[in-house]
Symmetry: D3
Subunit: 240 residues, 6 copies
């Protein structure tokens, strides 16, 4: 079978083309299917997403990258655990749009009863807690714990990042009763399997989940419902 | 006492200055306090908000209008029932930011056990239902009903709009068990009291609620918690 | 505009007229509107409300003070965080009846995602927890903590009371993740703003909330729904 | 074994001693244990309970009848589906206090997944719905339906009452998906078994439930927890 | 009145007839009614139930013991806190089938707001937590704590078992806020009353609950709804 | 890449080897990956699963077919929407065990806000409703509707079955507000895509979901958590 083509939009401003290529290579390594990835970042907006303010600023820039995507690609991944603009993108496009955060939480819920999220910064914990409650999974949440590394620095020293994740994930398992760990930042992409081997409980890697869920949706030939995600009505929309 | 000053941002592109003045006058008439309003609309984005796509496009344009608002104003109202960018605005500013949708639902919940929302278009109903559930008020929702007038046309013939609201609100009360009616579109601003008198159940007018809730917050000297709505971290944010 | 008139019933037996005058003055200072208050206490029942038993005993005495109130006043406040007889009062009267507990929880929910209650006595904590759950806000509750001062003694040494509140409120913020603090006893009335300044998170003062919410309801011209709060049917009711 | 002694307080003012004797006889017939009943009514308050207003007025009169009951009786039943003053009575007494409403809902929940309540008056439906939600059984509620007979008239023509219950209970089963029927008014006491035989689904009779639950609690030697239902603190409580 | 007859199936393989007789005697001592018990164990399956795997293996063996039970008995108790095969047994039989776990949780919920479960093994805690959530009582759960004795050893040294229960139950009350304790293993049968006396909060003994709930259902003449627990359709079912 | 090997256990007694081969072929056609399927049915138990009774009877027979499966296969699918013995199988095995019901509901929840289930028989509706509530998705359920064909007859006339599904699925969308349709019986396997094309909303085919979810789990190298699904302790377990 010919592989699918997935467009991956990273809602971070100003990534180098080398870094984008590297992400492409990493995503390619995460699947045993014959899938092609095109990884792009946004042309305006914040360099990283850490809160509602950044999400809103990144929104139109994300949608801008998605124009006409359903003519060329089979699916879209918005490469951020907060899933910014995912619902808007679903209204805009006729192909599956994957939010790694949403997909990771659903997958974790199939692996155990209680899960913990590992996030970047201590101060983002309340936002993650609220998000899980709004999704209706509050009673499944063991805890949210933070490695306390700003998003922009997470991949600068991956060894240190892994050690920090191990430290807080262990606490989540031993003190909070987590049965499953979710890496709740795409900065942690690709680290899940190593941590899982060392930790002994399932670790949900949001990048892997996003890739596999995109493939699942495409292979199943399903897309989000147009009864909920409405095709935008024709109207004046100015984007200066 | 000197009056407060409230900045009102309408997330609609391209409103005339006459219309903005008219809204200002209407808001002024809604309070018995000595409050001043400055009503502005957005400089780019969609002409009305009907779905997630429009919300995302309007987001940065709303925030743009709010720059430095906490130096000049006592509170901000984002004048749309969907509350677009409200959380981001709270992160950005140190004064109360009122979402008319959120505030209306809380007020309705104090007036009875079950409420119904009256929205613009049939197709927006599922989105309103989801929103009420995410707020944790799903069990209080009697129904969402639509007048089936696009947002842009609601104020073109207010008599017709009132009659249509009466028609569906009656059904909400008689068939769905609504004890309170929420006008779930700012296009309905100012119509609440007339409908309440004719309908015989409390009608929550989102514009009135927004004005009064802003005044309440300012007079109580409280603002949203910085433990949840974080001050945005310093970083590169490009807005071309 | 002429001010509104609000009747405030304190469900405590045997308060001196000086104390009532003092409360009137305090409430007056809490608003920038031109509102008049009449503060009364009950003529029979318990001296303070600490549990269901006291609430039931105070009930008819509260209603007795409300007879004909809707002919004279614009709104009623039942001045106790447990909101005793609030629903019955709403059935009885055609003007807004404010329960400070209910209103405080709704206001807190608009200021952050998780809040804590500060109550009088350790042993009242389970009752407060249950109450928040019954209101549907269980998932928003960070904790309930107690100053361990009986209700009757809270205002005897306000400096000590403030220090005790500071002590437990800090723990609520730092250990329980509270983003907003609710002073969950009317004995704490008027202390909110000082604690907020020292604590750095929003503090909801139930007396201030009650005053402002009463004004909001009156100014909005809404009253509780008669589809839920039924006008009592005519029947024999003996009150010896 | 010697029988237990149960005090039954009917929160209705002005019942004749014949009617009370008749209720005693009926309750006696509902158990196969050797239980004695003492049935009393209140000395002041409303003639029937139809809403919060009546509940509050009846409260202290109920508690008045319970003074010292734990010296003489093994358990107490407050004979009204709204369970007025049940929590206060539990604070006051060291023996089980049964609320027929609460107990009926728990029993129904063990007999099927969805149940309907049959209440007296159409206008009381919203209050019953709210109550079931507050108990945490909202998702188990198929519907509330009313026979539309005022509480005071329900036992005047029991044949008519039974026919009316049959009519609405059938609709609850066939149209609303009720798997279990709860007779949600003590006026319906003793009618459950006949209706169950004709209807073909389990019918929960609140008087039978109250009797059997009281016996169960006494026989199990458990009483409500003093960690939740606190013994009232010593204080001035005036009852003129 | 003639006593009822209750069939008790213990889903443990290989119990001696002496042990079964002893259980019969113990159950007899738990009621003041004139009830007869027939206690049997399963003929195949696991020696104890510790997890889903054991539950599934025990299932058909339990149902096998129930064949024709509604011709001879008034009610059935499946003597295990996990309530294995209870729903299937209800489909099979026309008499009440009591699950001690389900019944204990409902009874506890009537005695206080928050309860804790005492279970056998630390590793079973997550399963108990999930179960309480699935029943809709997650918000009532203070904690689950374990005595860390395998089910098969619990009754080998009852003094030690009681001491271990006391130790963890105290922690549940003092550290977790439990107001009621549920002994969440039938191995603890008959120990509830002693622990309650020493602990000072209500202790729910699942064996006592099961006996009394069976009697309550029979005496009330109600059985589970056939609208939910369907009579099995005729079809090929091979049991080699 | 070499394909994975998936063991599929159909919990129906007495299927012919031709039918099993046919299922194998159908499953093979549902994926674009290089996956091998081995489809087996149970050696004892009921011919179809329609209720709890059948589920319990099928349980040990399902587990019997899974012995040693984790030595040979990469994943297991228990081919029934009720997911019988799925949790027990997860305790038994170290490879992913897919329950098509669970997986379908999670996938549907990612495609829209409200979904409906199409089940076989009218009388099974209450059981499906309960199941969705227990999974925590009650607020996402638009309705359950039945084609009213016994499970054993569903595949006898697939054209008729498709027409019947179309008929009720249309009602679910138009009358109940379903945005996504779930085919809630494995008898409907392979019909999803055709119905989706005709209906215009996403249709979740449980067989396709099971296949793709198994592949996703294997490719992601995750298995259910041993902190929740415990490895069965060593003990006597007799299976005569």
């Amino acid at each position: 079978m010919n592989g699918m083509k997935i467009l991956v939009v990273i809602p971070n401003y100003g990534m180098s083309s080398e870094t984008l290529k590297e992400r492409e290579k990493m995503l390619k390594s995460m699947t045993s299917m014959n899938t092609e990835f095109n990884v792009v970042c946004i042309d305006r907006g914040p360099e990283t997403i850490e809160g509602y303010y950044d999400e809103v600023l990144a929104g139109p820039a994300i949608l801008n990258k998605l124009k006409g995507a359903d003519k060329i690609y089979d699916a879209v991944i918005i490469y951020c655990f907060s899933d910014p603009a995912v619902e808007a993108a679903r209204e805009m496009l006729d192909i599956p749009v994957i939010g790694p955060g949403e997909a990771s939480i659903y997958i974790a819920a199939m692996l155990g009863h209680k899960f913990s999220l590992i996030t970047a910064l201590e101060e983002l914990i309340p936002k993650d807690v609220e998000r899980v409650y709004k999704m209706g999974f509050g009673h499944r949440l063991a805890s949210v714990r933070a490695v306390n590394i700003p998003v922009a620095d997470i991949r600068k020293d991956l060894t240190k990042t892994v050690e920090k994740i191990m430290e807080v994930a262990k606490k989540a398992v031993e003190e909070d009763g987590a049965q499953v760990i979710i890496l709740a930042c795409l900065g942690f992409a690709g680290l899940g399997y190593e941590i899982q081997k060392r930790l002994g409980v399932p670790v949900v890697d949001p990048a892997v989940v996003a890739v596999k869920m995109a493939e699942l949706m495409v292979d199943m030939k399903v897309t989000h419902s147009r009864k909920f995600y409405l095709r935008p009505r024709k109207k004046v929309r100015v984007d200066k």
